[in-house]
Symmetry: C2
Subunit: 380 residues, 2 copies
């Protein structure tokens, strides 16, 4: 049994030339025959996540981007600044596929039982190269979706849901009991509000605008601190004190937000201290940077003693650390919650070609909360 599918499919590719030009184009890529544990998926929907943009845009100067070629086969070109180019030596001249996750229908399957069982099913998949019409992947990268779930609903079943679950799991592993989250009005942030509510984990949400706070309040968020407010630091200290949060996850990376979170945690901890310690409180405070919305330097004003940590947090490293059984359990939990806790919202659907037009990339490239695009590779 097989559903008809072509021998090639359109695929989005990102290339940086040695001369420092980013070129994003559509290519015809062969649809690989499935090996025994593989399936071929007709990709129906794939989100543009913040975590895709680094590979897609390569830090190019998109305000100087131009689009040539045809409507069906556009070529997006943009200059890459010399200081950015220096860090890209490993990818110069390589045409790279993009797209962390997606969903679609299994149109062919390898001989193994697990692969055959997926035949005709609507599935979510991960593993890169998802901005493609067809993807041949190992069943280990496939999540069968509950009966009746659409590819659109299942398109974001990996990155954001597993990141939200990973934050709660990391908090528990470190023996902490509450979380601070930045860029909290994002799709991920909204998921985290719902997840923490289910898990009874107090969550301090840091947003950048009053209307983002309103969005979260509607979802039932209790602690919301607006970094644009003059009372931000005192609001943050109060919320951190009320929740006893000692771990933060920061999507911005640059600037002084991580430092402010650590400082608020220290002030909240010092309020409970019985005597003066010149080395700060003994309460260990941790912030993980998991994104780079602000690519500028991270600036720490070390007014939070010596019991603190700052570090990078990466979903793939987290999943490796917990092992396949626990990953499988998390995936099943996601599959059951795609309409509720782990639901994503998209502002626009675009075809592969439309994704390369200025009216699209000037919006999704901004990484603004509430501007999430979905690529539908078979839209014509």
């Amino acid at each position: 049994m097989a559903i008809d599918y072509p021998s090639t499919g359109r695929q989005l590719r990102s290339l940086v030339t040695a001369e420092g030009i980013l070129e994003i184009s559509l290519q015809d890529a062969p649809v690989l025959e499935p090996q025994s544990t593989q399936v071929v998926v007709r990709v129906e929907a794939s989100p543009i996540n913040p975590s895709d943009l680094g590979l897609l845009f390569a830090g190019a100067n998109m305000t100087h981007a131009t689009v040539s070629g045809t409507v069906e086969s556009p070529l997006l070109s943009a200059p890459v600044d010399a200081n950015v180019l220096r860090a890209l030596s490993a990818r110069l001249g390589a045409s790279l596929p993009v797209g962390n996750e997606g969903a679609g229908v299994v149109v062919a399957a390898g001989s193994s039982e697990t692969a055959q069982a997926l035949m005709g099913k609507t599935v979510a998949i991960t593993g890169g190269s998802m901005y493609s019409q067809y993807r041949t992947v190992d069943v280990a990268l496939v999540m069968a979706l509950p009966e009746g779930t659409s590819p659109r609903t299942g398109a974001s079943a990996f990155v954001n849901p597993l990141t939200a679950l990973g934050m709660v799991a990391t908090m528990r592993k470190e023996g902490r009991t509450a979380i601070v989250h930045t860029a909290a009005a994002s799709n991920l942030g909204q998921m985290l509000v719902k997840l923490c509510d289910e898990e009874q984990v107090p969550l301090v949400n840091i947003v950048r605008k009053p209307e983002q706070g309103e969005t979260l309040r509607t979802l039932g968020a209790q602690y919301i601190c607006d970094s644009s407010s003059p009372s931000f630091m005192s609001d943050l200290i109060e919320a951190v004190g009320a929740t006893s949060a000692t771990i933060g996850f920061d999507a911005t990376g640059g600037g002084n937000l991580a430092s402010q979170i650590l400082t608020a945690m220290e002030i909240a901890a010092a309020k409970n201290a019985t005597e003066y310690s010149r080395y700060g409180s003994t309460s260990h405070k941790q912030v993980y940077i998991y994104g780079g919305l602000d690519r500028g330097p991270t600036v720490l004003t070390r007014s939070f003693g010596f019991a603190w940590g700052l570090g990078g947090w990466l979903l793939t490293a987290f999943l490796q650390s917990i092992g396949p059984d626990e990953v499988s359990a998390l995936r099943q939990r996601v599959a059951q919650g795609l309409d509720t806790t782990f639901a994503s919202a998209y502002t626009k659907e675009v075809s592969l070609a439309e994704a390369l037009q200025p009216e699209a990339f000037s919006v999704y490239g901004r990484q603004a909360s509430g501007e999430k695009y979905l690529i539908t590779p078979h839209k014509t």
Copy 2:
């Protein structure tokens, strides 16, 4: 059996007034009767460590310090800037004793066997308030020195030796195999060179001046990188690559040195990578800040992927983490090496009163490598 000792002794005290004036003075403090597990130590020598200066000077503006009072009972006064004062609310108005460690002779002992066994012995002690002529402390804070060891030799038996041992132990606990150390020409840095040589741990020494590099070369240090050299970054990348160091200990704290160390580790790791990863290498890189020679902001240019950590490192927290048995083993090792691996060098001995004079504090307050002072509280 008891050796004669007075009922009071001179003690150095640091006070910050609500008006923002630092006052350092000498007071007569009662010499407390020893409880059963306590001993009274006539303190003969106590070093001025960088870790003492925060409590001693409270971040006051020492360039505007004045000294009044008498030669035997001076009063040092210095203004504390308003922004510094804000962080000191917990100590305002409290007259605090200073001095992390020292050595002397046990002149009285409590009734317990362990206390009695120390009677008349030369011992090293920790536990604060060491800038005093006499200290009554629990035997848990006492290290009996090998026969014939002078108080001067034993005065720095805790902070620097246990910090050096703690760095190597932390490296091992995290499964790493080589260390990067900054301010490497300090007393601690020289100890670490000798210790790492004994332990066969490759050590990258970062110094700030060519002559400091010479000092370390004389000690046998193999990897020396001078941050004042134009080739510093390439030297550091080469040394980190040669040693495979993935952990650093930074005494400076402020500026971009921690960022440079993480960047060098990432570049060294990327050289061994087989494929381009947009999230950086999977090699986890860690820098601990254990001092604050530069009190300015820590600035991270995040060009080192997501597998990294930065954090505070504090000796007392480390000792708590390993438990009393291992601490005891480390102490015994120090006691045996006070003339060799863990030997300290002092540029000057001063009395308690002399420590409050400009010609002294203007030197030891600079925290320059190679300018270490020893207080001898019974010097007249």
